[in-house]
């Protein structure tokens, strides 16, 4: 199976703390990592290729500096990584990014499957993958929490979608585009050999002309006016009493709300 995973660079949210304003993470020069959701997409792709053969390509739209982040995808085991970088993409919205991805995927074809994370951790729109599927005219299965069957010969796949109040079992022909949630797997930790290989790998960078697009086609339609902290604070409640009493109360409350 030839699988393309859609990955992006994201702020490192582990740097977030009470003493550090979350918005600073969005600033230029703040630490960047591979979007955590995309690690699950990569892991899904890697496991499929381990089971059925083929190759995994990590595709990213982002600035030149994001190459370093793409190396994480290579270290995890992606066979190749491609970065699409163009000055015209600096303020790209989800549709512009989707158009870019679709064009780049056209250049990477043929493929059997495209997998992305459920959303980018900072914008959290979850729209890019969906728009990409629409542009490529591919069936979309979002919020995949498990793959039940994958049959490359019959070109079908059955997946479990995890929604707020239900689970759905969905079958789709291949090629298709999936977005995955964190319940699907535990992303691997790169081995040192893979880290070393990834460090030395050449990562091709394509610009818009390379994938047959013009700046006008990716002009942003939506722009971010301001980034503000959330309006409401989370409700904090302290359970009083001895540790044993407090714990008993906590267990009771959690089970009443069917959390445990």
């Amino acid at each position: 199976m030839n699988i393309i995973t859609l990955v992006k660079q994201a702020p490192d949210t582990t740097q977030l703390s009470g003493s550090l304003d979350g918005l600073k993470l969005l600033a230029e020069g703040a630490p960047r990592v591979l979007n955590p959701w995309d690690e699950y997409a990569l892991e899904t792709a890697l496991q499929l290729v381990e089971a059925h053969g083929g190759s995994v390509t990590a595709l990213m739209v982002g600035p030149a500096a994001a190459t370093e982040t793409l190396r994480t995808a290579l270290a995890m085991g992606a066979n190749q990584a491609v970065l699409v970088d163009d000055p015209a993409l600096a303020a790209a919205d989800t549709l512009a990014t989707a158009r870019t991805l679709a064009a780049a995927i056209g250049k990477l074809a043929p493929f059997d499957l495209i997998i992305g994370g459920r959303a980018g951790i900072e914008g959290n729109t979850g729209a890019t993958a969906i728009q990409t599927a629409a542009l490529l005219n591919l069936p979309l299965v979002s919020y995949v929490a498990a793959l039940k069957t994958v049959d490359p010969a019959a070109r079908t796949l059955t997946a479990v979608r995890l929604l707020d109040n239900e689970r759905q079992i969905v079958e789709t022909p291949l090629p298709a585009l999936l977005t995955v949630v964190k319940e699907i797997n535990e992303p691997r930790f790169p081995t040192f050999m893979q880290l070393r290989k990834a460090k030395k790998a050449t990562i091709p960078t394509w610009n818009l002309a390379d994938i047959g697009l013009t700046a006008a086609e990716v002009a942003p339609q939506v722009s971010w006016l301001a980034e503000l902290p959330p309006a409401g604070q989370a409700r904090l409640e302290l359970i009083e009493g001895s540790p044993a009493q407090a714990a008993a109360q906590l267990v009771e409350r959690l089970s009443k709300q069917q959390i445990i």
């Binding site: 490192d12 009470g18 003493s19 930790f189 081995t191 040192f192 050999m193």
Partner: protein, 666 residues
Amino acid sequence: MLTPPEKILFAIAVLISLYFTYHSFAKMAAVIGRGAGRLNLDDLPRRLGAGLVALVGQGNILRRRPVTSLFHWAVAWGFLLYVIVNLADVLQAYLPGFRFLGNTPLGGPYRFVVDLASVMILLGVVFFLLRRFVAAAPALSFRPNVMLHPAAQQGIRHDSLLVGLFILGHVGFRFLGESFLIAHESGDPWQPLAGAVASLWSGLATTQLLIGWHIFWWLALGLILLFIPYFPYSKHAHLFMGPFNYMSRPPRPSPGALPAIDFEDESLEQFGATVLTDLHRTHLVDAFACIMCNRCQDACPAYLTGKELSPSALEVNKRFFIKQNFTGLADGAADETPLLEFALSESALWACLACGACIDVCPVGNEPMFDILDIRRSQVLMESQFPAELRGAFTGLERNGNPWQVAGDRLAWTEPLDFAVPTVEDNPDYEVLYWVGCAGAFDSDAQRTARAIATLLHAAGVNFAVLGNDESCTGDMARRAGNEYLFFEMAQANIEILTEAKAHQRRIVTGCPHCLHTLGQEYGALGGHFTVLHHTQLISELVGAGRLKLTGGAQEAITFHDPCYLGRHNGEFDAPRELLSAAGLALNEMPRHRQNAFCCGGGGAQVWKEEEPGQAAVSASRYAEAESTGAATLAVGCPFCARMLSDAGQSLPVRDVAELVANRIA
């Protein structure tokens, strides 16, 4: 005197024995040669001395199991004497009229000592055989949950029986031979014991006595000729492989300081040990040196709390794997069986607390902990197989410079203090760099300790500074968990920061024995040479110099838990005790203390993962031991010991020595 045909026959037997000895020893050498690195034989006179001291002194044997060890001493010294006895016996059999030391003043005493030694050896070996085969001493067996090579269970019994019978035979036959000789020469007052046996032969004719001597001479020395080529197949090889192990070990700055990997060397393809021959040669010597006494198992906190780990089973398994594949391994055949399939289970691998007790207690100089941490390296660096909980800590080190994944201010602990704690930037001319450590920076209990240390330094007028937010984890946790690459990166970054801060020209003090060990003993191999003190060492020095006055205070009973990385790994047992006593605290020692201290359960990266399945928590076991002393407070010298032990119970408050002392500043 032998007859001429006997002399020729014996000479031929010696040659045949030497031929097979050469082959079996060459095979053993070839197997050891398959290992990584090289044995250290530089500075040979000193190293020979170390080997001899181990052999003759038997120091590390006598520390535990006093009765068995005493018998061992008798057997070992007797055996050393028997090297001379055998040579003398051969010379006497070949040279007409020759008696070793003959009628010199030493002749009689020599025979007397040999007479006594022979019986001592026989008694010792009978004791050993009874202990193993009749009393079935539990110390000599393994719990069923420990992985044991299929050939080992019976193999150890067979080998032990063979060795026992060989010694009984060799020494017993020689003793009987001597009794015939005494009877033939009508008595020898210098050999009362063999002489007593000689009285049994009083009815025999002279020729019969001589025949008796001939038979037993042949049996005694023939057994030796048979056994010598067999040595490499037997655990009895410990008698020279043990001392050889002491002689040939690589130099280590401290007993548990791990060797570094050069990650910039592009030719390296293997990181850590996946198969037996990936291990360092000295750890293949370990397998040959192991006498399977299980003393390490008796000292191992993981084994004693029911985990799947037994350091001695690891050595035994290595040994039987070698034995089963001896010729192949010696001839260079591919070695593809992973250590995790025969040497120890995955749970055993991750149960090790890196406390170093196994290394410390081993009478033949084995270092099982090194194997375990080497296999962890290969599991993390090559296979990416490790307990899932460790991932969070690794990510924390990578991204936040601390294993908790906290992105806080490393100086927050200083806020409640009524004096300012200067950073290196504020005070570039500092004398002592206080390395706070991640625990001191982020763990609420350890922050209290950090404030106590700063208060003591301040009170004594020490010109000190901290690195503040330039500090990050030393990488100790990553290293003990097998993530050597992460350790390498953290160490390099820290060495750069410390060198920039000129810490290599000053002294560093730290409240964390893991930082003490990593900065002081392990950064050297990566080019960072620092003088590092534990806070108890520096504070004790300040008290001694009169710069810090303590009130003494009420005689409160206290017990002290030796942190493994302060005590066994860095040899400091006295400073914390001196401080506690200077602060007027009466020390009730736990049964296992100083060199024999029992881990808190946090070492070897265990703090960052769930404890492996077993019968008890290591921390609970230690806590109960502390409670048994009747002390009112459990004193510690390590933030991780403090965390593990204070989570283990509520009856006994756990306090760092620094806090206890800071409360008693005069």
